[in-house]
């Protein structure tokens, strides 16, 4: 299946997914149009330790500032659930292997696992991984699956901004807007629409 974002130019949900028509979307069509291979998965379930590690990875990607970070939204359990239910075997395996790689790299660099590293150490490591995933993403053949850290970043963004905290404190989700205006003033600090 093609992952070219153009399928998302559309008439059916013209705005809802408008960001996905652009090549620069982070949470891209790769998430929406995840690999089509199906079948029973035989991978071990995510452990509590895995979820705790994912919580810290997510919190490093979106840390607590004046508003809560990803950990407060339960990002670790969310990623574990999403990968278990939505990823195919190959993607799931890549994601799980990535968890081990992050922890091993933390031990190699800092002499301790990721969860025990300082927030500063975690950030340095994750930013290096982010550069690595960007290089991988930019050079990978169309349709190939993503780098594990891109998966984690995508899921953190998606899980965070669609959470209750994300929708009510980070961005503005209004269930029934009641009106549409195509040109209103925007000033720094105004929230974006979910």
């Amino acid at each position: 299946m093609s992952t070219e974002p153009m399928h998302l130019i559309n008439r059916r949900e013209a705005v809802r997914r408008i960001a996905l028509i652009m090549g620069t979307a982070m949470v891209a069509s790769d998430v929406i149009l995840r690999g089509a291979s199906v079948g029973v998965k035989d991978l071990p379930a995510f452990t509590d330790a895995d979820k705790a590690l994912l919580d810290e990875i997510g919190e490093t990607i979106i840390p607590t500032t004046d508003i809560p970070g990803a950990k407060a939204t339960g990002i670790g359990p969310f990623m574990a659930m999403f990968v278990t239910d939505c990823y195919n075997q190959k993607e799931h395996a890549t994601f799980s292997d990535g968890l081990g790689k992050i922890d091993a790299e933390s031990k190699r660099r800092f002499g301790k696992g990721f969860v025990d590293a300082t927030p500063e150490q975690r950030l340095v490591l994750c930013n290096d991984l982010d550069k690595e995933q960007r290089r991988f993403h930019d050079s990978k053949p169309k349709g190939e699956q993503e780098h594990y850290f891109r998966m984690m970043k995508e899921l953190t963004l998606m899980g965070y901004f669609s959470s209750e905290i994300g929708c009510t404190q980070a961005v503005s989700y209004i269930e029934v807007p009641g009106a549409w205006h195509g040109d209103v003033p925007f000033k720094k600090g105004d929230k974006e629409w979910y």
Partner: protein, 559 residues
Amino acid sequence: MSEQNYDAIVVGSGISGGWAAKELTEKGLKVLLLERGENIEHVSGYKNALKAPWEIPHRDHLTQKMREEHPVLIRDYFMHEANVDYWVKDAESPYVEVRPFNWFRGYHVGGRSLMWGRQSYRWNRFDYEANAKEGIAIDWPVRYEDMAPWYDHVETFAGISGSLEGLESLPDGKYTPPMDMTVVEKHVAARIKDHYKGSRHMIIGRSANTTEPRPGRSSCQFRNKCDLGCPFGAYFSTQSSTLPAAVATGNLTLRPWSIVTQVTYDKDRKRATGVEVMDGQTMETTRYTSKIVFLCASTLNTAWVLMNSATDIWPDGLGSSSGELGHNVMDHHFRVGASGEVEGFEDRYVYGRRPNGIYIPRYRNLFGDKRDYLRGFGYQGSGDRKGWNREIAEYGVGAQMKAALLEPGHWQMGIGAFGETLPNHNNKVTLDKNKKDKWGLPVLAMDADIGENEHKMRKDMADDAAEMLEAAGVKNVKKHEDTYAMGQGIHEMGTARMGLDPKTSVLNKHNQVWDAPNVYVTDGACMVSTSCVNPSLTYMAMTARASHHAVESLKRMDI
């Protein structure tokens, strides 16, 4: 037995069937409306419509289990977690792909009127004349003037929001007030108008989201969750609009779980006598009789019903005497366009979630323009600010990235084309009696693809998109050229075309099957060509027109 006899039977409860039920019941006929799938009640049946994003477990993404149950539907993105129940389980209702074909179906009361794109455009006069002028396929037996009053009729009831533009390429209709364009859409529209000296236009989409209340319906609340079903009834669907009108007459009987297996036919009277129905849950068979039958089962399923009817007289089914039943399958080809970024306007934004975009009506091969292909295309698209899901090149992860994502990003503008597909006798669907669905019924085999004319057009569809955006000052413009397979536009048309001659068409100019004049086909099956605009409004108008004809004919006792 008396309850099994009706004045009219309508097969299918989607956009066309809903209109047939409304028009026929309002004219006093006792109508049986048959739907092959389950009932979905208006409002109470829309179980995810009022859920917040965090209340959808996988945040609207598909699980592996959903993928396994929908191997066809996952070829595109229309199905998502929150509306997965509105789409057919492909595994229960298979079909054969002689050539790749995407068939995205909704088997329930309301059909695809619940999930449709709502873009509602009139055909122009050139659309109805093109086949005759160019010697393609056969002539349409109707012209724009025949259809115009029926467009008026259905637009007025359905509630289409749109602007009056005075364009010959896209006739104006009866609209509720237009939605706003965004500041960037207005900017790009003005630049395009200027650059092309008024020969190309970017206008607000004409959408069946009413912007004025209708009986039992609120105006649009700008939630942009239409494809979950609208609890405000603000967009046109069978449930929000035609079904309540039909029920209000006291003349309607709605029967879900009713798979019509054939139209029953009296060869001596040369008339249909009714339909045979298999209950979708109990598999029991029942016969219903009526004076007239409206086939509105959706294009390809209407062909399927005809192919399974009167086979003792015509082995290839009712309407096959012309040799055209099942042939001339058409769609709109798309997935080609361009997008880019618009500088400035950083102090402007939007309020609300608009369930609509912009439209650029066809300009190719009109008014003196001449290309190396026939017909043309229109564009849909939108201009909006990027959101939290954008890539931010200058930051990695952490607090800076987070702070940047809390504000909307740059403006972007994207447009995608929908092109006309020429009718071609070799594009066909047939019955494959060796393969059966969950109910033991034979399935359709699809054998269709776009041809040379469409491929030439697609080059223009991509090139023009990039050229127009660049002419409008859009930066970093990228062309998109993706693959397309027939059916993906979800605008299936043809298989039982109208015409002036029973030797070359399945239906006459009033949508009556030549071989059974009390059988009307008014869904997409009746189409003789496709235009490049979205077809549903024309099905509505065609159905209302045919309903009027049927009732007048019954009064005259001549069907």
